[in-house]
Amino acid sequence: MKNLIILGAGTAGTMMANHLRPKLKKSEWGITVVDQYKTHYYQPGFLFLPFDIYSEEQVKKIGRKFIPKGVKYVQKKIEQIFPEENRVQLEDETLDYDLLIIATGSKIAPEEVEGMKAENWLKNIFDFYTFEGALALRNKLREWEGGRMLVHLTEMPIKCPVAPLEFAFLADSYFKEKGIRDKVQITYVTPLSGAFTKETCSTALGYLLKEKNIGLEIDFAIESVDNENNLIIDYGGRKIPFDLLVTVPTNMGDEVIARSGLGDDLNFVPTDPHTLQSKHHENIFVIGDATDVPASKAGSVAHFEAETLTDNILLYIQNKPLKPEFDGHANCFIETGNNKALLIDFNYKQEPVAGTFPIPGLGPLKLLKESVLNHWGKLAFRWIYWNMLLKGRPIPLVSRNMSTKGKKI
């Protein structure tokens, strides 16, 4: 009996358990999933929680419910991975593996910036990448009467790179509905040279910021937060004042990766971008936000990766060459406020372009263009996430590799 261990029961880990269990003989392979947390959060929902669009209950469920029968779920903390010895040390036991899948994700590290996680953290400085942060921000926004709001991005890479911009757009709508938009000044602050992280988007969508009267500060590499004077300060000495700072802190891989000596500077695991095998250990595979591959850290990416990785794990077990198949495919809805959204579909090589999706020429969704239908697509995605994505079911008409059909290239 051989052991396959999956570390992490987030989006990627849960999908892998669901993909692999029916494909591996129970008499030959045991599958174990390890995750220290009981709750599985629908992370895309954290964007909507601060604006009272989603409730707490809509973004969380018991994680175990999504793990298939025949897979052992161990709710314990992972202390260390010993790749040379093929074992994983948990808080009070050791597990041996023949094959390891690392799906430990990424999380915010506000302590990376001086003064960010200090006396004003969750008072007038908030993140919305955690359940706690998004909830605290919701409570703050309910009573906030206005002032200078900064929506700030610390450094790349971050999970769901368009989220901070979506946050700014939704904030504009939220304050309009509340009738206090004239009392709120919204500014988007980024270390990049444009609001969008992809240049084609910056060009095509630059009008959105103007239309919504959102200020833009670019090339801002933050050094510290001044808690006394409510300022963010960059390495060049530039200062921007705020009354309310909504920040996306540095994103890093899990500390267990650092403790195990498996990561880069940001605790992401060096991974082959096309096969998803670890670059240093052939019986370790990596998926989702935990990798260092130059794709978006997003659920859609994990979903496409999961299909390739499932095939590659079966090939690996049969001693066959792996398929260098994964192309960096990502598919993201971008909320633009006023019940509209954009859709982008791209990969390692192809930047987002205009077109129709998923049926070439027909759509019904339009790429790189605002529409009400895209917004409904984004909201419908929550159902797809819980009922199809986590269970590893294919999304109709959407293939693992990006299709160039229907795209204006």
Partner: protein, 102 residues
């Protein structure tokens, strides 16, 4: 597109970044720096050479990478290339503007 910098015809992209590093030389770098309002000193060139080595070694450039480089700290990087040090210095160095994935 092709453009004339310091007497040489070089291929650049829309933002003025060289597309072919083999066409680069110091005089071209100097000219680009001048257009960015920077007067090059020996220290500037040390940093430019380090950046070129990183790109040659296929290492991604980032502000965080500068912090850990041991070559210079971020404050100095900003002092040498004010505004957006990474995008300005890479332009002078004749290497691609660092990309950040979405």
């Amino acid at each position: 597109m092709e453009t004339l910098i310091a007497g040489s015809n070089v291929k650049v992209n829309q933002e003025g970044y060289l597309l072919d590093f083999s066409q680069w030389n110091r005089t071209i770098g100097e000219q680009i720096a001048q257009a960015e309002g920077i007067v090059m000193t020996p220290r500037h060139w040390e940093v430019i050479e380090w950046l070129q080595e990183q790109v040659k070694a296929d290492k991604a450039l980032s502000i965080r990478g500068i912090k850990k480089s041991g070559v210079l700290d971020i404050k100095e990087f900003y002092a040498l290339f004010p505004g957006g040090p990474l995008k300005i210095s890479t332009k002078i160095a004749g290497v691609p503007k660092p990309k950040s994935c979405i």
